[in-house]
Symmetry: C2
Subunit: 282 residues, 2 copies
């Protein structure tokens, strides 16, 4: 489990790195970004995972996410994985659609062909990448983890957070897809990666997981009310109802005038980092 350093640069009192490794889970090379704030020798820092949305790689949040100042202030390591396997031999949507295949792994372990071999982003985020971080980043304290994400990555954060209850002290999301079983993006992805049996989809639907009794310690969600995808794809109200119905502690905020872009994410990023830091250091 060796990693190759693609770049490191000093920023906001820390080191922003981009790394590559041969993933046994996806059968491909995978890239990811890690920001490590300056710290004393031997210090252990809590970790915040950020899962990106459709079409993105690690690079979008690294360039536009505005997380480094807050992570440096609070002493939090920030890890941004890719959104799908990539490379020669990795199948893509036949029409190269933006919402399936490359850049659209949906944080599932695919069971349908031809996706099952490479499209295993669930296991990659749940198992392989944490192990890799543990072995290669001495300052990362994996006893203190939190997770967030945007859109498809918000779906990833919610579902990986709910299923991995002991792993994360806090879960947040920016404009997440809250019920992929009940929106076009999700129905297309889950049908494609998992097949037609909707029972198999429940593990990848935050609202369904809440109804099954899974919980996270605390949940923060921001959603822009001018987000073009809100009504058809994101359906924030379903998460509000599922949290109320199931007694899940949650602060789900509608932000007036904000859209789906990094102009929105960057606006609330520092608040999310501070919110996670408070729980990671409690």
């Amino acid at each position: 489990m060796t990693i190759e350093t693609l770049s490191t640069v000093r920023s906001h009192g820390g080191t922003q790195g981009v790394y590559k490794h041969a993933s046994t889970t996806t059968g491909t090379d995978m890239s990811f970004a890690v920001f490590v704030p300056d710290h004393e020798d031997g210090a252990k820092l809590p970790v915040l995972w950020y899962l990106s949305g459709l079409t993105c790689t690690h690079a979008n949040v690294v360039e536009k996410g505005e997380y480094r100042a807050a992570c440096a202030e609070h002493g939090v390591i920030f890890i941004a994985p890719d959104t799908s396997p990539r490379g020669e031999g990795v199948p893509d949507d036949p029409d190269a659609a933006y919402d399936f295949g490359l850049g659209a792994g949906f944080y599932v372990d695919a069971t349908a062909e031809p996706w099952a071999k490479n499209y295993r982003m669930r296991s990659y985020i749940e198992d392989e990448l944490p192990s890799l971080i543990l072995r290669n980043f001495a300052s990362a304290d994996l006893k203190r983890q939190a997770i967030t994400g945007h859109s498809m990555g918000g779906h990833g954060a919610l579902t990986i957070g709910l299923r991995g209850q002991d792993r994360f002290r806090s879960v947040s999301a920016f404009s997440p897809i809250v019920a992929p079983s009940r929106c076009p993006w999700g129905e297309k992805a889950l049908t494609g990666y998992l097949g037609d049996d909707r029972e198999d989809w429940h593990a990848y639907d935050a609202c369904a997981l809440l109804d099954q009794g899974l919980r996270v310690p605390d949940l923060l969600v921001d959603q822009g009310d001018a987000d073009n995808f809100r009504a058809e794809q994101l359906k924030t109200e379903l998460l509000v109802e599922a949290c109320e119905r199931n007694g899940q502690k949650a602060d789900i905020r509608m932000q007036p005038g904000y859209d789906h872009s990094y102009y929105f994410i960057s606006t609330f990023m520092a608040e999310h980092v501070a919110w996670h830091a408070e729980r990671l250091k409690a």
Copy 2:
């Protein structure tokens, strides 16, 4: 003097817009970005100009500059112009070099052919764009202006700041080219745009302007010591010496480990905005 709105988006408690107009100065369409923090009806906000570096448009700082949170906090309007004329009929470097022609206007009024007709970024920044802002942005208080910039744009901020002494209450720069008469980027640009007579170059050389007796009210400069362009192109030490020699008040800071990129600029952007805001509101 009408402007066309290309886009507006809500971000960090304000409006990030991109606009276009037909410039009489450059004879081309010109684009620029303006961030206006939310404010009470009728309120007047001070203005911070940001001049970008080689190869950039307004978009680089808009996406990577991390200025909006600080501008919203301090109630400062942030204006980012383009770095050169562009469009059909605008001459470019015959080899399409990155350091001359398109994206490399160097904030001069060219006198040599074929550049003299379009490459008039000095007059554009000094005269036309401020007039346009005054007429189209009711909240912009042009009695309270400050200017900053990066690299070639740091050169622009210093020279436009020094020549326009009454216009700006404060001037700052990120890794500026401090003496274009004495570095390869500057010698190429000034020869190309102005011709061989070095006397004509002085108006575009911050160190020469200081030696001629021009001053700014206050000056802040940040420079990364791991910046690859420092020794050959930027020559920060010449500015330190010129300020000392001429009694120019200045805080010129060497930042250990930082390079020439937006990872560096974004790190110190909030400090520059706060520094300008203090002077703009004094």
